[in-house]
Subunit: 402 residues, 2 copies
């Protein structure tokens, strides 16, 4: 037996969420974490309807704790898939769309990416390129790298000057490549023939929380399905229902026909067997109950969407009252759980160093991390950061936003 | 956009648990599934102490549903690691052993296998061989294949004639290779020097259920730790506590020193981020509560071990009363949740075809699948199978057992 470790060459890696690590190590009682990665919204806030459902299920003496099937809880995957695609979707009616219950949205992306590496990558004479929406691309890039992809590129959909969607640039890229959220792009099948053969992979982490309307938030996905694309969609319900710790995700597969769907699912099932065998059940049971009851579902979503917009409005109002330089209308013009504040990286650094407030260098914050306990402190700190440095950011280059 | 599916080449795979599929599709009300894969023991039976703890935690209004850290619930991984290694273990005292909370035992094997492929496989001039204990090797082999290993061999520890551990053969193989459960073996570092450089990877799915004694069941693992080996150990708590559907596993890492442990954990953390991000919490909270309370723990385990032995005794007694040919003492001479019945593959086929009873062709059954509802039917059916064919198996070749 060797006296030295077998793992002398294994390097220490610190790439994993240094922002959260810094926050956790900060002893200040005032500290605030404004990023979404690794932390939920509204600590200790779960929609009351969801909490009640959870208690009912946990207290059910008839519930056995048998393993779920490999592909998960069928009532959940069916309801989740119909929520995203719509019950009237042709793909649903033609029985060529189906879900795989995964360990959170990350698990859905992972299983999907592995499948694509094995079965989509094979016939290409050149490496398949994966395009990932830039501001969200951190962990997604790691997953695609992990499974084997080497050509991974960001694409940009955000106008960093106007702090709004960059429609023109977005359309320009669409004309060349076509994609959405994260997606795989053209194979050069023949050097003289540049044929598009793209596969869109949507990431829908909080359907209904952007606009407050489930159908409106799913428009882009449904549009691609209606155009006849085959695609994947990773869904997560952590943000929507507050059960962050139960890791409930779904990988939606839309295939050309039912026979193709069956073949794809059989391979995904094999992958799941070798990764986590079967997913955990409690969270999926709770969410399936809510999804299958439209009244419960709408109540939950309305409460959440209103909460998010209220926080945006309150923060804007506080900054107005404090006389913070710049215009903060973008806070309420944007929707959803994340907001680009437009803060400069120097202002972000000021907040971290002097105020124990942690957010990404590009100024993006998780709106849901702001609550009644920290709102005043966050607004006051932003005011100080902006007033004591060079004023609100009027625009950042993409390079600066990384 | 192509009119044909992008996935014309994806084959349908039916490799995944055809036995369970056949059972599920069988419309007979008498059907019984006697394999352990994909099904739990004692449907609807959870140790009352565990069920009570689950209710307390689910009902706790102060519990937020925040994400767990990437490596899981620390109270759980610490208690689970100490349960396996012992609190007095040198590795624990020297702070060079630690756990990673995983999605079940499968998740622990997967994350560990991926790590070994990346970091243990690199310096070898020839492919690393992975040796896996034969009767359990089905899904484990798939996992090691999935992550990239190509040299995967079974090893045998079971005497198929005496239906007991094959001590002599076991020792012979140990002298050549050394391993336990599943393990990686010699690198040829120099063609003229055949140096052992092995890494044991234990799989402990039900500590305490084999002998009814936690320490006794962990003897082999602790022995290797005491000898100074670096190793991995995949733990699962599904069988022990009945919470099959909450997927609670732990990957124990024992390293040469604390600094090596920290480096290894940092890489495992990165892997987990790209696989399921963080594990689900409820099951781990329940199990941590039980593990950290010795009185609760011993009560649960004693109840389970007694239940298992009672089933073995009852089945043997029924077969004796029925006058079934052959000696069935091995049923109670063996311990643990699985039993080699010694049934011939023709008898197994008889049971499936005529009795709707599903078990592996090698005659191995999950003892826990037998309960008061099906005991009489199972015993009567075994009696018919043995009486109507060529008598109890006196031995099977390893090839026949696959």
């Amino acid at each position: 037996m060797a006296a030295l470790s077998l793992f002398l060459d294994v390097p220490l890696t610190r790439e994993v969420n240094w922002l959260l690590d810094a926050y956790r190590e900060d002893p200040s009682p005032d500290k605030v974490y404004l990023d979404h990665r690794g932390r939920s919204c509204w600590l200790a806030w779960v929609c009351p309807t969801v909490r009640q459902t959870l208690l009912q299920i946990a207290n059910d003496p008839t519930l056995d704790h048998e393993y779920l099937p490999v592909l998960g809880f069928p009532e959940f995957t069916r309801a989740a898939t119909e929520l995203a695609l719509g019950r009237e979707s042709r793909a649903v009616i033609e029985n060529r769309a189906g879900g795989i219950h995964t360990v959170g949205g990350t698990g859905a992306v992972r299983i999907g990416a592995e499948f694509l590496w094995r079965w989509y990558n094979t016939s290409s004479p050149t490496p398949i390129a994966v395009y990932i929406a830039f501001p969200q691309w951190g962990n997604l890039r790691c997953i695609f790298q992990d499974v084997g992809f080497t050509e991974i590129q960001p694409y940009h959909y955000w106008d960093t000057v106007r702090l709004a969607v960059a429609v023109e640039g977005f359309l320009e890229v669409l004309e060349v490549w076509s994609w959405l959220e994260l997606c795989q792009v053209p194979l050069v099948l023949n050097p003289s023939l540049f044929m598009k053969r793209l596969f869109p992979f949507f990431d829908v982490p909080a359907q209904g929380l952007a606009s407050g309307d489930l159908d409106r938030d799913a428009w882009a996905l449904r549009h691609f399905v209606a155009q006849g694309f085959e695609l994947f969609c990773a869904q997560s319900f952590s943000k929507t229902f507050g059960l962050y710790d139960e890791r409930v995700g779904n990988l939606i597969v839309v295939a050309r026909d039912n026979e193709t769907l069956v073949r794809i699912r059989s391979q995904l099932q094999k992958q799941v067997m070798g990764t986590w065998a079967t997913p955990a059940s409690l969270g999926a049971r709770v969410i399936a109950t809510v999804l299958n009851n439209p009244a419960l579902l709408n109540k939950c979503l309305r409460m959440l969407a209103e909460k998010i917009m209220l926080i945006r409005e309150k923060l804007k109002e506080k900054l107005r009252i404090l006389g913070t330089p710049g215009c903060w209308d973008h806070l309420t013009a944007q929707s959803g759980t994340r907001s680009f504040t437009g803060l400069l990286s120097s202002q972000v650094a000021f907040l971290e160093k002097h105020k124990h407030i942690y957010l990404l260098g590009n100024g993006q914050v998780s709106v849901c991390s702001i609550n009644s306990h920290n709102l005043d402190y966050v607004a006051q700190s932003i005011n100080e950061a902006v007033s004591s440095t060079e004023g609100r950011a009027q625009g950042l280059s993409w390079a600066e936003m990384e």
